[in-house]
Amino acid sequence: MRARNRELFGLLPAALLITAGFAAVFIQESGKLSNASLVLGAIFLGLCLACHIFIRVTLPYADPYIFPLVAVLACFGLVMIYRIAGAAEARRQAQWFVLGLVLFAGTIALFRDYRKLENYRYLIVIASLVFLILPRVPGLAYATQTQTYGAYLEIHLGPLTFQPTEFSKIGLVLFLASYLRDYRQALVGRRKILGYRVPSLKHLGPMLLLWGLAMLILVFLRDVGSSLMFYGALLAIVYIATQRISFVLIGVLAFALGAWFLVTHIQHIDARVQTWLHPFSPKLYTAYGGSFQIANGLFGQAAGGLFGQGFGQAMLTAPGSGFPIIPLPDTDMIYAVITDELGLFGSSALLLIYLLLVARGFKAAILSRDSFSKLLAAGLASVLAIQVFVIVGGVTLVIPFTGVTLPFISYGGSSILANFVLIALILLVSDRARRPSRA
């Protein structure tokens, strides 16, 4: 079967999922069955098909599994949002998907030869850093009382809220891929001190400077989740470029020191660590910004068991008082709700889909013939994987809880738009890598 036909068949699970999912939610909230909601699902599938045809025309050799995997995630996310927050929010989310797909098509059309992005690498990195600072710019910043759990994540542009860090992650990976393509040999270094190859400071310098700056801004923005994500991506790309495990170890050590500093000096972060270590301490449970959210996320997961309680069965607010049991169920805590309703099997399946998507990204990197493409595809796939790890790990207590979005599933426009651009770039790399050589 040809690649594009495989992609078309790959969309079948997404179609089944969205039909079954919406049906399940309808049955749960009997009486709410409306044409509008079913139409929503139909339109969404239509869009996926349109996108598939677009890929068929523009990227005939691209990996056929990536888009169906994304479609499954997006469909699943839409059903979850519909179930958690209702039709209005699901419609807004669907609108973001439409915009996301437009941006996806736009990226593919505009950067058929994505390697020309390399010419703008300094522009891109500066833009990414500016994006990071935006939430702290007066007038754009979210009013302080709605500052999301102690972090400055969002900016306001009229009626829109926007999370710029989602885009910065792509810009920074692009820059790193390009920069390291040029200087990876130099970075490995020729001079030896005590038998250890030392990278030349000249080439290491600018990169460290930029990353120091990015980390500083993140601490300044107090968005530890994104900081963790960026740092992980940096280590991943440096490792692929240099194949030096010692760089990674030094990086982890530096991070451990930085983390220790943050925990002891920033109260907001210390509180996160405390709730991680003692989620069921009655004192932390009742404290403002304490472990209430994380503990109830765990109770919800326990209620889910192996197979979950079923769509629409998780209890998100207390009956009567309407008191929220799991705060932010549609964004930060969505994984806990998924586990509650679909159980260990459902959430493991979800993680497997992410892993398959990442694997396809890595496959594109392996098949690529030039270093920039390799670093770009592997970097983008890594940053996606690390993002999933940071949020799911936070909700399941593998690491302290920090709010980043679950790609394609959490509610939020910026996350969807940025991740569609990310997928477009991976598909572009993949198309070039799989194109039969003319010779």
Binding site: A236, Y239, I240, A241, Q243, F280, P282, Y285, A295, L298, F299, G300, Q301, A302, A303, G304, G305, L306, F307, G308, Q309, G310, Q313, M315, A318, P319, G320, S321, F323, I325, T339, G343, L344, S347, S348, L351, Y354, L355, V358, A359, F362, A365, I366, S371, K374, L375, A378, S382, A385, V388, F389, V392, G393, T396, L397, V398
Partner: protein, 478 residues
């Protein structure tokens, strides 16, 4: 580069495996523990959407029922008001809280019976009508207990020795379960939100001598006829210990020492039995563990020696074993624990686990779950229990507990008068205790305590209450 990419992917697979492992931990391996975590209100919340079953007394009277509330929910109504506020407890939508049996049996009342299988696979179904809970509680006796306490801070616990069924568990102060958080009352450091019978930390005074006697006789170190001298004062752990009225006794039998509650003799008995065996016998009676009652753990306290709030065993160097043996030192108990002690003697040395529920019945009238009597421990030989029963009979016939000597009752018992250390109008404040059972027809065992009574001899204040309760219960049986 490709090798590095493959290796990186392997690392990511490991990290995702970690995510699955942790999700398994919460959904499967720790799921039961999380379901039972007191902070977890999910099953209580779920119960409000259901017309829960009734909680019924032993005679079928309704102690709690569901009434419709706003938004299609169900709230609870308690026909007896404050009478069962501690035992039955409450389940309150407005304040997101539940206590007592309402909390222990929340899922049964709501009709979602949790088995280990269903908690792993997720609830298989959610019912819309709950099960009824039948209890051991006796409303008439409970009312009598309230009347006899007459508003004084104190507690009455009555247990059927042969089954562990709790007939009475009443304490002052009480609150109104129909509006549980209106009450902010605190009398003598006892708040109306707590259950003195299960949470009180009270010095047991001489009622503890029953435990010391059990250890002394069952180990064969003493017999009821063993003779000891009881000088007053006697130096115990470097400090003088006095008998009541500072009376000294010559060679006296253990029976007589119990009858007149002679402190200096019992301090020697405890010292000779030794900390290790005292520790062993206290544990047999249920000291040092949360009582095995079907009641929320956070509403129960373990009895035993405490230092800075933490339990310490009699073998600890901080314990004065002589004074502990007469119910002093740092020993604190709950009225429930002392009721368990006397019920053991009444039941021939076998302690039955105390319990409040008898069965769960579904809307079709079928018994879904039943709670048959369970042996908690064989504390002593039946022969020893009979001997102690005889000794306790003397206490009521000619000793400190004569106020319990009602005609036709044939009570056996033990008084306790524990100094609280407080004074009022120049008179010392005492906790007055009496524990006892009708020796010829031992179908009920009672523990009564009254707090902070001026010169509050257990024999004067607590014994008459216990006698009334025993008599009323035996009359009910006829």
């Amino acid at each position: 580069m490709n090798r590095a990419i493959t290796r990186l992917f392997a690392l990511l697979v490991v990290l995702f495996g970690l995510l699955v492992a942790f999700t398994s931990r919460w959904t499967v391996f720790s799921a039961t523990a999380l379901d039972k975590n007191p902070l977890n209100k999910l099953s209580i919340y779920a119960s409000w959407e259901v017309k829960r079953g009734q909680i019924l007394a032993d005679n079928g009277q309704v102690l709690a029922r569901s009434v419709p509330a706003r938004g299609g929910l169900w709230s609870r109504s308690y026909p007896f008001g404050s009478l069962f506020s501690q035992t039955v407890g409450y389940s309150n939508i407005q304040f997101n809280q539940a206590a007592g049996l309402e909390s222990t049996y929340a899922s049964q009342l709501a009709g979602t019976v949790h088995s280990n299988v269903s908690s792993v696979f997720g609830p298989l179904s959610r019912s819309t009508k709950g099960n009824d809970l039948y209890t051991t509680l006796d409303p008439k006796l409970q009312q009598l207990a309230r009347k006899l306490l007459a508003g004084r801070v104190g507690s009455v616990v009555a247990i059927v020795p042969q089954t562990g069924a709790i007939k009475v568990m009443y304490s002052n102060p009480v609150n109104n379960p129909n509006n549980p958080f209106a009450c902010k009352l605190v009398i003598d450091n006892v708040g109306c939100q707590e259950n003195l019978a299960t949470q009180g930390q009270l010095p047991p005074g001489s009622t503890f001598k029953i435990v010391t006697t059990t250890a002394a006789l069952n180990t064969g170190k003493f017999t009821p006829q063993s003779l000891l001298r009881g000088p007053s004062p006697l130096i115990v752990s470097g400090r003088p210990l006095h008998n009541d009225g500072d009376v000294s006794y010559g060679p006296t039998s253990l029976t007589k020492a119990l009858t007149y509650s002679i402190n200096t003799i019992y301090a020697q008995v405890g010292q000779r039995v030794g900390p290790a065996l005292m520790s062993e016998y206290m544990k047999r009676f249920g000291f040092y563990s949360t009582p095995p009652l079907d009641y929320p753990a956070q509403q129960m306290m373990a009895s035993g020696e405490r230092l800075n709030g933490k339990l310490i065993l009699p073998t600890s160097p901080y314990v004065d074993i002589g004074r502990m043996s007469i119910g002093q030192d740092k020993l604190t108990v709950t009225p429930l624990q002392m009721a368990m002690v006397v019920a053991t003697v009444a039941n021939g040395g076998t302690l039955m686990a105390p319990r409040l529920a008898t069965k769960v019945v579904n809307p079709l009238g079928q018994v879904v779950e039943s709670f048959p009597p369970k042996v908690y421990n064989h504390v002593m030989a039946p022969r020893i229990a009979a001997e102690i029963g005889q000794m306790m009979t003397k206490v009521v016939e000619e000793g400190t507990g004569q106020a319990a000597n009602l005609q036709g009752l044939y009570a056996a018992g033990k008084t306790g008068t524990a100094q609280t250390g407080g004074y009022k109008n120049g008179l010392e404040l005492d906790d007055a205790w009496f524990v006892g059972f009708p020796v010829k027809d031992p179908q009920i065992a009672v523990a009564v305590t009254l707090e902070n009574i001026q010169l509050g001899y257990g024999g004067t204040y607590a014994a008459p209450i216990a006698a009334q309760i025993m008599k009323a219960y035996l009359a009910e049986l006829k």
